[in-house]
């Protein structure tokens, strides 16, 4: 089991670009009304790609 998971740290800053979804290797994230949402948290492998690639510093991958 991965020991990290994604969290939405600053939801208001999300501009709905979808880059995190494009780079996530599994199916975790979705846009809901133009803002990012974690719809399948159990799929998250804690790889940190979404945190590193989000141009708006919205996401954080934290210890479980």
């Amino acid at each position: 089991m991965p020991n990290k998971k994604v969290e939405i740290d600053a939801p208001d800053w999300c501009k709905g670009c979808g880059i995190c979804i494009y780079r996530c290797p599994v199916d975790v994230l979705e846009l809901k009304e133009g803002k990012i949402a974690i719809t399948k948290p159990d799929n998250c492998i804690g790889c940190e790609m979404c945190e590193l690639i989000c141009p708006d510093f919205v996401l954080k991958v934290v210890e479980k």
Partner: protein, 277 residues
């Protein structure tokens, strides 16, 4: 890699930033913050300096001593800060217009002097802020507001320029290859001497739209296909080498650093004066 404390490096009250949705400038700025953290710099002894452009806005969001200077002159200001305070860590943020066009002169001389400054050029191949004029890194044939029939200039390879001018650490990566970018900036910061990191990125709003390249995702896919690790690039055919570019560490060498030389000279002159009364 992720530090739960990473938020301490942002001026959170200034965010969200002004950049377009999906702009690569945010990815590079995040990479710089992580590199500063990985390199273990003291936040109170680190100065981030920029010129003008979309890229120039980055230091305004970063919680360090920062200077937002005039167009092209970030390296001139940074040289002054470093000469007066050699103990400070200097990071310069520039654009391809800011650093290779109006500021190209400052860039080559900072390289030549080998002054201990880490420069990250946000290279989006266009003047983003002023709505899409061609820059020295715009590919030949591409469209721009100032090249409505295609750019006739020869494109500058700014990493080659920095290497030829004497930078002692040069690396190139892209907004797609963010992990590699973070490592290159980290090692550039640790390097004693002038470090130049070319961060290739996408401006879908100006360059992408004018040249029909799609949005951020399509432009990042293009980077993925066209920027090749140095060793793999060397094995490409001559025709492929014309199109594809290298990424990774391009140069690393040791040479005496400029402020060290300057301080040594001061010591030497003062010792001579004492001796001669």
């Amino acid at each position: 890699m992720a530090n739960p404390d990473i938020n301490k490096y942002y001026r959170r009250n200034k965010l969200p930033h002004i950049w377009c949705p999906g702009c690569g400038h945010g990815i590079i700025t995040g990479a710089i913050v992580r590199a500063i953290d990985q390199a273990g710099l003291d936040q109170d002894k680190t100065v981030v300096i920029s010129g003008i452009g979309c890229s120039g806005r980055a230091p305004g969001y970063l919680k360090f001593d920062t200077l937002h200077t005039t167009h092209g002159r970030a390296l001139a200001f940074a040289t002054g800060v470093k000469m007066a305070n050699p103990e400070l860590n200097l990071i310069v943020i520039t654009g391809d217009g800011d650093g290779a066009a109006i500021g190209g002169n400052h860039l080559i001389h900072a390289c030549r002097r080998n002054i201990n400054i880490t420069t990250v050029m946000y290279n989006n191949s266009i003047y983003g802020m002023t709505s899409g004029q061609f820059s020295p890194t715009t590919p030949t044939g591409s469209l721009a507001t100032t090249a409505p029939y295609g750019n006739i200039d020869t494109q500058f390879d700014v990493s080659n320029l920095a290497m030829a001018a004497g930078a002692t650490y040069v690396g190139r990566s892209t907004s797609y290859h963010v992990r590699e970018l973070i490592d290159l900036i980290t090692n550039g910061i640790k390097h004693q001497g002038f470090s130049f990191i070319e961060a290739v990125t996408h401006c879908h709003t100006q360059f992408g739209r004018k040249n029909d390249l799609g949005g951020p995702m399509e432009m990042m896919e293009w980077q993925k296909e066209n920027y090749i690790p140095v060793k793999a690039w060397a094995k490409l055919s001559a025709a492929e080498k014309e199109v594809k570019k290298t990424r990774g560490l391009l140069k690393e060498e040791e040479r005496e650093e400029y402020t060290d030389k300057y301080l040594a000279l001061i010591k030497q002159v003062q010792a001579g004066e004492e001796k001669n009364g």
